[in-house]
Symmetry: C2
Subunit: 451 residues, 2 copies
Amino acid sequence: MDLTNLHWVGAVEGARMIRDGVITSVELVQACLACVREVDGQIQAWAFLDPEHALAQARAADEYRMSGQPTGALHGVPVGIKDIIDTADMPTENGSVLHAGRTPSRDASVVSLLRAAGAIVMGKTVTTEFATRTPGKTRNPHNPAHTPGGSSSGSAAAVAAGMVPLALGSQTTGSTIRPASYCGVFGFKPTHGLVPRHGMFQLSRTLDHVGLFARSLEDIALLLGELAAHDERDPDSRPRARVPYRDVAAQEPPLTPMFAFLKTPLWDRVDPDAREAFEELVDHLGGRVEEIELVVSIDEVLEWQRAIGGAEMAISLRREWDNGRDKLSPALRSRIEHGRAVRAVDYLGARASIPELAASLTELFEQRYDAILTPAAFGTAPAGLESTGDPAFCALWTLCGMPALSVPLMQGANGLPLGVQLVGARHRDGQLLRAVRWLVSHLQANPVSMT
Amino acid sequence: MDLTNLHWVGAVEGARMIRDGVITSVELVQACLACVREVDGQIQAWAFLDPEHALAQARAADEYRMSGQPTGALHGVPVGIKDIIDTADMPTENGSVLHAGRTPSRDASVVSLLRAAGAIVMGKTVTTEFATRTPGKTRNPHNPAHTPGGSSSGSAAAVAAGMVPLALGSQTTGSTIRPASYCGVFGFKPTHGLVPRHGMFQLSRTLDHVGLFARSLEDIALLLGELAAHDERDPDSRPRARVPYRDVAAQEPPLTPMFAFLKTPLWDRVDPDAREAFEELVDHLGGRVEEIELVVSIDEVLEWQRAIGGAEMAISLRREWDNGRDKLSPALRSRIEHGRAVRAVDYLGARASIPELAASLTELFEQRYDAILTPAAFGTAPAGLESTGDPAFCALWTLCGMPALSVPLMQGANGLPLGVQLVGARHRDGQLLRAVRWLVSHLQANPVSMT
């Protein structure tokens, strides 16, 4: 068999081929490593990658499979892990010199779940400083002069460049959706609390989510099925019945889905070519989409997000602030200073506003729509590596803990990818994936003729 | 049968007599109402009491019983409800002119649970202003020139005076333990989250607890058994297996209980006669009690409690602050001002300290002790009605959400009652009640000869 393009194989397909003995995990990992050697000099997606250690895991997976024992859904499939997620066998440095050489003794919950599913922990992907806005070294795989987005920069870039079929990131404002949009991959932020965060660097208990990256919707659904689990060490995790996400996502929707197109008051700041691409997509979907208005003030939402994120960041980074302030970037120092000045009543007021806000948005789903369709970002990846772009289009859904998916459906006038953000109701992650699968298939069968 | 002293009958006994047809609920409620008529002119325990409505409920309970249908554990037993706990059929004014005439349309969770158990909602008991420190009209039943304590003033006084066998209160610092100690009744603050708070005025999500008042340990256990329930409308309530609290409390402990006597650094401020009474009690218990030291700084604990309680109170009362500040007492205004000035990082820092603090205290129970024995207050009820007394001895256990019980075991040189506070590990409410039952029986069999 020709293994030249094996590193472009997805997780569902790769796992199937390994299970069926068509390829070995070692062959898949070697193909990915070859891709890393070829492209990563320019992209710089990895904070830590020991090829020998990845291959050792792959060899063990192959031996295990050949022993005839039952294997997990991700058996032999390599996954990149954002470097704010603890791994017992690799460093986890949280994107800061203050944590250089940090070697946690335990795996994060999601890493344990991946290993239990048979996955290979390929290496640690580059994060911005403490998953905030100060960039790491990674470049956009589509154009190295552009940002890959952040904070899950390495995870989005590694998946986009074919270095790994799956990666984990995180999102506290727009750290999964934005880089997925900029890099042209699927990026998924599940419902808050659905995927446990224990062992992931905590920036904000209220806003932190684990993020998922893949090159297909099926791979996202497969990965979610392995990661959605109760873990009482995450205070926002609750026991719930297991949902077969892959099956739900693959189902034909009982009714043809309806989408709510939401421009938000941020629309005027969207790049003109992105606005045009959106209008075309919406026109093309015809009766399946209706434009709606945001009933809340986006300025207020952004203020709540800042109060909660700022105060919780200030408390999460209090040791670094007290003992190593001079080793933080000036931008982060300034954000911490703002966070430290937030009053508890404003913080609590912002938190108290979430349930009502979420309820008003959930009503949309009860009434009529299967998903909200809205920009993932203000346009394609901005030029330059000094900024990771503006996450404002993600703030509302992160604040409300609603599942959000960036789908690589469009591109800008500069040829760079441009994601569409699809948002579902809390804990209807499976229904969201199902509606998006319908959308993707529909567009494949009826392509938009972009002007 | 002589019904003269029927109002002194406890809930276990009263429910049994009604079940067996020895008395009717109407007779029990009439006896309680007669007591109210006789003594409440002086004590002023009730914010609302409609004798006809209480009797109507009792008549309905008697008819129901005579129909032969199965009855609940509190069938026909009257219960007083603190006037911060919503009742659909009576006003709930939260001890403030700002909420005068407030008539909620729904019962609080605990009121629904009481009605489901067959209880008669006797009336609403006096609370301090919004369950804080500005007193209501209630006086101490043992001496009307002294405070009954607060904020659950009316509930403690009503039970102490024989006006009702059971009452509900609340505790955010020491609002159940302190009035129970001052009034000479059992007052129990269960583990945080065990008894749902939906429909109770929220002063502080982190610190609020429902409180239970009765004249015997058996009655406390009976009441707890009916109120410990999951309610997802209380965000700190979790589903858990039902514990038969009455049975557990009645069991002989597998090993003779060991008590840890904890003076805390507040000890020097305890009244001399109360210190003496405590030393005698501890001497009397001999090998069953060992003195321990507090490993945390009580000043730090009180500061955390103030940061959390202050900030959460400021957000809970923000509408009253914004629209009716001049109708709040000067003392409450000043506390809200302090709460509004708390920084979010200090609030979050205080909250983050709770798990470690609670874990260090829980170790005591793992290692050696069945309960911590410590003062409930600095002495007997202070003279005067301007203050409800100092809750500092309750702050630590409230902050950690540990179950705490005030047991009326002693009295001061002035003849007023003096409670002993017994504290258990979180979610071992049953074991705490069991250890205390042993203690009470042991002391009945071997009375302390108070000098």
